[in-house]
């Protein structure tokens, strides 16, 4: 049984159909990438999984439990966490307070303290800026904070929505190194990216999304070698 199973979901915004019945699976321990251009439905897919929008048809299963009709806060408690597109750190809260929000579902205060120390080991920059208001951080630091915040709830499945968006090439590499590190620590990852090259390098399995449909799937390597993918997403 796959950790996450998306079965034939379709999502509408008013009369516009954003997802036209897509299906895919994420097995425990995998890194799965969804790639596609702007408007392909990548973020919509992520929001549907997190319960922020509800699919009109189809179903989503997490750990064998149907989740497409339950509220987001319950899905988070089941062990899923998201780094949303555009980071969405709490601009008015400090770095530390943002991490505390990430630990909202964690009851054990000692554990939270230890986790914060772990995060600071991984991101020394955040420790330096611990009491700084998150809105004053640079884009890269905000992305690190958004990732750290998502890790505070100890997700089994981490969703990353465009983690490289708006970052310099150096920082993009750093973000992908961190994603690999998180994966090695035992977290299953579903990543959505426009930076197809990077995403396919780390992905065990990938799906190509185009205007609401999955048009291709394969291992990361298969898709990197695919001529259509090369032409459309990897710059020839």
């Amino acid at each position: 049984m796959a950790l996450l199973e998306v079965k034939d979901i379709s999502v509408y915004y008013g009369v516009i159909q954003a997802l036209k019945g897509i299906s895919f699976e994420v097995e425990e321990g995998e890194i799965v990438a969804l790639i596609g251009a702007n408007g392909a439905g990548k973020t919509t897919t992520m929001q549907a999984i997190m319960g922020l929008i509800h699919p009109k048809t189809g179903s989503i299963y997490y750990n064998g439990e149907r989740i497409d009709n339950i509220p987001t806060h319950k899905i988070v408690k089941m062990g899923m966490s998201e780094v949303p597109e555009g980071r969405h750190v709490f601009q008015e809260l400090t770095v530390y307070e943002n991490l505390m929000m990430g630990a909202y579902t964690v009851k054990n205060k000692e554990k939270i303290k230890e986790d914060v120390q772990e995060i600071f080991k991984l991101f020394p920059r955040l420790e330096e800026r611990r009491n700084q208001i998150a809105g004053t951080l640079s884009g890269g630091e905000q992305q690190m904070l958004a990732i750290s915040r998502a890790l505070m709830s100890h997700p089994k499945l981490l969703l990353l929505d465009e983690p490289s968006m708006g970052l310099s090439p150096l920082l993009v590499n750093e973000v992908f190194d961190i994603v690999k590190h998180i994966h090695q620590e035992g977290t299953t990852i579903l990543i959505v990216e426009q930076n197809a090259e990077k995403a396919l390098q780390i992905a065990d399995k990938a799906y190509v999304l185009e205007t609401g449909n999955i048009i291709l799937k394969g291992t990361g390597k298969e898709l990197r070698d695919n001529d259509d993918v090369k032409k459309a997403y990897l710059g020839g």
Binding site: M50, G51, L52, P71, T72, H73, V76, K77, S81, E82, P84, G86, R87, H88, V89, F90, Q91, E92, L93, E97, M100, M101, G102, Y104, T105, G135, G139, Q142, R149, A150, S153, M165, G166
Partner: protein
């Protein structure tokens, strides 16, 4: 000497406006709606005080019951009228809030009649300091409202629920993916707002002991104005706007020649501030970093 008394009365009225304005601003910040029935919760509190002060003669007990019943009606109104409209157009929510306001006023009129009722919670009298004769209710109102505001600020800054309120008001979707139950946070917000409105009704009745079905309209509109002047959605803004408006109102009323124009002056200030700073004095424009 008159100046000191007028200033004190202004601060005291400002404290009451601030308490009510906090209800508007917190609900706006968290549920992204203007609860135009908020003023009518003050009226509900007034009638509860009227009934229970009359029945028991125990002002403290009556105040506790008023706070409790206002909170109950506040969350009932949210669950029955506003929750089903979550995600609906803002205009639908706005018109519903106005409907709830008329509903509460009409209900009060059916139960208690249109004629004002007289209710004395307590006669606090005055104290004399040298040549100053200070009305005690002014001091009590000011001190209690400041204490409540400090308490509220500490609650928001230091409790998990308080921080969740900031998170929801800043970014609802991000708050949800932290595992925050937004509906619960909205309920807490209505509870706090209704409690503050109940306290405001006590202060109003201490000053002028009459209650009628439209009792909450004027303070509601004034406090809403205060919230917008301070920057709707901002908690310090509601406090600042409340005190500002209270002081302006009392000073304006203290000069016989301009007293008839007090309301006009207050709304003029609103217009000017909105022209100069459309988001209010402490309201922020949100900047998205991409």
């Amino acid at each position: 000497m008159d100046f000191i008394i007028t200033f004190l009365n202004g601060l005291s009225l400002g404290g009451v406006y601030a308490l009510i304005a906090l209800g508007y601003t917190m609900v706006y910040g968290i549920a992204k709606m203007l609860n135009f029935a908020h003023g009518d919760i003050i009226m509900v509190g007034g009638y509860v005080l009227f009934v229970f002060v009359g029945l028991t003669g125990e002002p403290i007990l009556a105040i506790i019951l008023a706070a409790f019943l206002c909170m109950l009606i506040g969350i009932s109104m949210e669950k029955a009228a506003y929750k089903p409209l979550r995600g609906a157009s803002p205009l639908a929510v706005l018109i519903t809030a106005i409907g709830v306001s008329y509903f509460l006023q009409s209900l009060a009129q059916i139960i208690f009649g249109a004629a004002p009722k007289f209710v004395v919670i307590a006669d606090l009298g005055t104290i004399t300091l040298g040549s100053l004769v200070i009305p005690v209710y002014s001091i009590v109102t000011l001190v209690v409202s400041i204490l409540i505001m400090i308490g509220l600020s500490l609650f928001i800054k230091f409790t998990k629920t308080g921080r969740a309120m900031i998170a929801v008001s800043e970014d609802k979707a991000a708050a949800q993916i932290m595992g925050i139950n937004v509906n619960n946070i909205i309920t807490v917000t209505f509870l706090i707002g209704s409690f503050l409105a109940a306290i405001a009704s006590v202060f109003y009745l201490l000053k002028a002991p009459n209650i009628s079905p439209t009792f909450g309209s004027k303070p509601g509109i004034k406090a809403f104005t205060a919230a917008v002047i301070g920057g709707i959605g901002s908690i310090p803004g509601a406090m600042l706007g409340g005190f500002l408006l209270g002081i302006v109102e009392v000073f304006s009323n203290s000069v016989p020649q301009i007293a008839p124009y007090t309301d006009a002056i207050e709304f003029l200030i609103l217009i000017i501030i909105l022209l100069v700073r459309p988001t209010g004095i402490l309201g922020k424009k949100r900047r998205e970093k991409v």
